[in-house]
Symmetry: C2
Subunit: 197 residues, 2 copies
């Protein structure tokens, strides 16, 4: 063998992402990761503090990538169109990187600064997209929460194979998003969506 394998945090993260995406986050272990990188497990500790730190870093990377996808999708679009685009981008990220996405919702430390900042940037992006509707600030936040729930819920269920029937899943998704967009319009017209509850 010529020279020692050059190992660094970004290479480790990349391989960890591959494992998580291909075999599931729960299959990601120090042992398997070391094996794929052709080093002994303890070697990884020269670069990071253990499995938890690794998962935390994956989570951060996942949220950042999510933001990236959504940002890309949002440029040059506005209103309903932009909402559809960022929703589609969200779903696409989860489909392409199921393990990474999973990591981004099952992190060891919720108080991590960098993680919170990354999450916040996603929220801000959505708020920005909603700007054009001139909603009340409070209303806008409720709507961000709603959209986030929809996107996380739908993609999680799809990932776990929860939609059993053969009926077209993409159609379910676009109906759901369009339904929600209708709801935003209603909020614009100041319809009272809290009645009866």
């Amino acid at each position: 063998m010529s020279r020692r394998m050059k190992l660094d945090v970004s290479i480790i993260l990349q391989k960890a992402t591959e494992i998580a995406d291909e075999q599931g986050l729960d299959q990601l272990s120090i042992g398997l990761l070391a094996e794929k990188l052709e080093v002994r497990p303890p070697s990884l500790y020269n670069h990071l503090d253990g499995l938890n730190e690794l998962k935390q870093k994956l989570a951060i990377q996942g949220v950042k990538k999510l933001h990236e996808y959504m940002l890309q999708a949002a440029v040059g679009r506005s209103g309903d169109d932009a909402i559809r685009a960022i929703s589609q981008a969200y779903l696409q990220l989860v489909r392409e990187h199921p393990g990474l996405y999973d990591a981004s919702s099952r992190f060891p430390d919720a108080n991590d600064q960098e993680l919170q900042q990354a999450q916040e940037s996603v929220v801000q992006l959505v708020l920005q997209v909603l700007d054009v509707y001139h909603l009340q600030e409070e209303t806008a936040i409720h709507i961000v929460r709603g959209l986030r729930s929809i996107l996380h819920g739908f993609s999680s269920i799809e990932q776990m194979g929860g939609f059993g029937l053969p009926l077209d899943i993409n159609k379910s998704f676009s109906i759901l998003i369009n339904t929600f967009i209708e709801g935003i319009h209603a909020a614009t017209k100041n319809q009272n969506l809290e009645m009866n509850n």
Copy 2:
């Protein structure tokens, strides 16, 4: 100590549920469970086949309990009212039994007959609630998927402490549900919710 601790599967499941609800599903281990039950870890193997089977049973119990809550909420109600009630029940179950709910979406074996049947009964219940709207069968399924996404997404995010801001979470929830109900009305009127996508 008088007599030997009477142990059986239902007692084990009950204690496991407590642990999962109080400390999180990931903290549930054979060791901790045995300790709480005041037996040695291997004793548990007389009643079940290991941690995976335990988690599988928890998953099934979780889905059944979810169905139970939703069924209770649905009796004597119909239409929009029934949808609000079952949604509320869903959220209530997750709040009361976060660990059990978590188990019900992170099971070891998705092909388990009993699990699938329990899941199916939840779907059937929702379809039954939707009956009164006289939707096309396909449409009804899309809507069940949508509602499920909303409920799972919202409660998961709430559980992981994902709604950072102090803004009233219950209000976000009822707005989301009401928005969705509006969408169902639109589907009733045969509005095309697939356009532009």
